[in-house]
Subunit: 301 residues, 2 copies
């Protein structure tokens, strides 16, 4: 059996009781170590908590060496640990499909992920549209595919969760070209970088998917001991020191309920000014005023 | 301190290790018992698992008696247990705002909820639009506000998670009018009822947000020992026996990736027919074909 086990967001003890029982009985335990990190734990603290060896699974191993992970899983129990919930990243679907091809049963043990824990900021989960990802811009690569998606969400009034880039065990282009397995230090996008990239693309595209005054919520270290939220305009957040990783950003939609706003006031510098931002932003993509249909039997329908 | 602790989806042991440690040390432990249920556990099995008393908190207590729940929480630790994650339902935001007014610290211990665990069906979470709720129709109340939201999601190509109604500890109108505290047996909407209500509203509205042939995924007992998925057209699901609760439904959007489709094939009766449904459904809300802009300096821009 292949067990995919979510680890939650931060502590060793964020694993579920059932997940922990399974980890203890498995023959091998892999930790997916390239799409996210636990904020208050690492490989060695997990090994201590579980009382057993944990094998780090990097991108190469998961994407090209999945048969190695799955070896013997027809008879033995193998655990594959994922930060958050196992169904956050595409690659794990690959692993499950491969397991099934090999006749290996698969069971998932779910946990919290940013996709649902983001509700802790006080915005209602059912008011969120599609989630988008922001990658680190480079000199030659500044992808803006997120822009249309934010626009789509905002046109129908919804909030947008923006997941910020994480670079773990990446090679420089030079090292990759020379085939040297030397890795860059890990990088985690902070709130100021994310906000600046968003502002740059709005300036280039100019389609007013949002403005420098659009209200957002900076979410830092969600589910960890030092979790913080900050609600401010995008341009204020471009100057914001968000501290240690991990971070996510939420851009508000037009449909902000009073209860949501009330909750966000805890995280603002100035309640009245934030309220003004929200009200001004709601003018964007406002539905046109209702016009009663004209009754006219002669017209074609 | 008020601890809001997510219980996950099904078993007693779906609580996190950290959540369990907190439950054991709290002075009082409440279980929110009206917006959802654990599928493989109940009050008495939780009491046995925790080794302590668990107080059922019904809607009256949470919505009008929150000060009773919060009594003494300035000094003592109180746990409020919620099926899924604590930030699934609006009412708990109320409780947190009230706690803060009373000077009580609040900490959330997150867990899986249907909002993220739905990824287990193989559809990518970031391809979902806003989540909608379907309530039981009555003779006089057949609300269709979900329809516009499904339409909005589908117009931009996104999947829709539909949460199905749960009626726990509800009074009949007659008993309510007579002030008799007699409650109806619990009811959980099944897939056939949900699909039939969707078809009824499409027939009434006729705006083609979806059709009887639109592909959907029935999600039954997510995260429980008897979890099942069934992918089929809406009209097929209107005849589908989905078994014991709980159920959710996902309506597919236009942007179905090959990997998503590949994954869904496990849950279909006939792979080729399902593929045809998906292809036909993708014609809805298809973006207009690309037309190259005409270069003409004389025209106004």
């Amino acid at each position: 059996m292949l067990y995919l086990i979510g680890l939650g967001l931060s502590y060793e003890s964020d694993i579920t009781v059932r997940g922990l029982e399974v980890v203890k009985k498995c023959k091998r335990v892999y930790l997916e170590a390239y799409t996210s990190i636990l904020m208050a734990a690492d490989q060695s603290s997990l090994e201590q908590f579980y009382g057993r060896e944990v094998i780090l699974a990097d991108r190469e191993l998961v994407e090209t060496g999945s048969d190695q992970i799955l070896a013997g899983a027809q008879e033995d129990d193998i655990a594959f640990l994922v930060v958050g919930d196992p169904f956050g990243a595409t690659t794990h679907t690959d692993l499950i499909i491969r397991a099934r091809e090999l006749g290996i049963k698969v069971e998932a043990i779910h946990n919290a992920s940013v996709m649902n824990a983001v509700g802790a900021c006080g915005l209602q989960l059912y008011q969120f549209g599609q989630t988008v990802s922001l990658v680190f811009f480079t000199d030659s690569w500044r992808p803006d595919s997120f822009y249309n998606k934010v626009m789509e969400n905002r046109k129908i009034g919804l909030h947008t969760l923006l997941l910020l880039d994480i670079k773990v065990k990446e090679q420089s282009i030079e090292n990759m070209a020379r085939g040297r397995l030397i890795y860059e230090p890990p990088r985690y996008m902070d709130i100021a970088t994310a906000a600046s990239q968003l502002l740059e693309i709005e300036e280039l595209r100019g389609e007013k998917a949002y403005t420098p005054d659009t209200p957002c919520v900076a979410i830092s270290r969600l589910g960890s001991p030092s979790q913080t939220f900050k609600a401010a305009s995008l341009k204020e957040l471009a100057e914001f020191d968000s501290g240690e990783p991990l971070h996510s950003l939420v851009m508000l939609g037009r449909q902000v309920h009073d209860l949501e706003l009330e909750y966000l006031y805890q995280y603002v510098d100035n309640k009245d000014e934030f309220k003004k931002l929200v009200e001004a932003d709601q003018e964007y993509f406002k539905p046109p005023p209702y016009v009663a249909p004209v009754e006219n039997d002669d017209e074609d329908l």
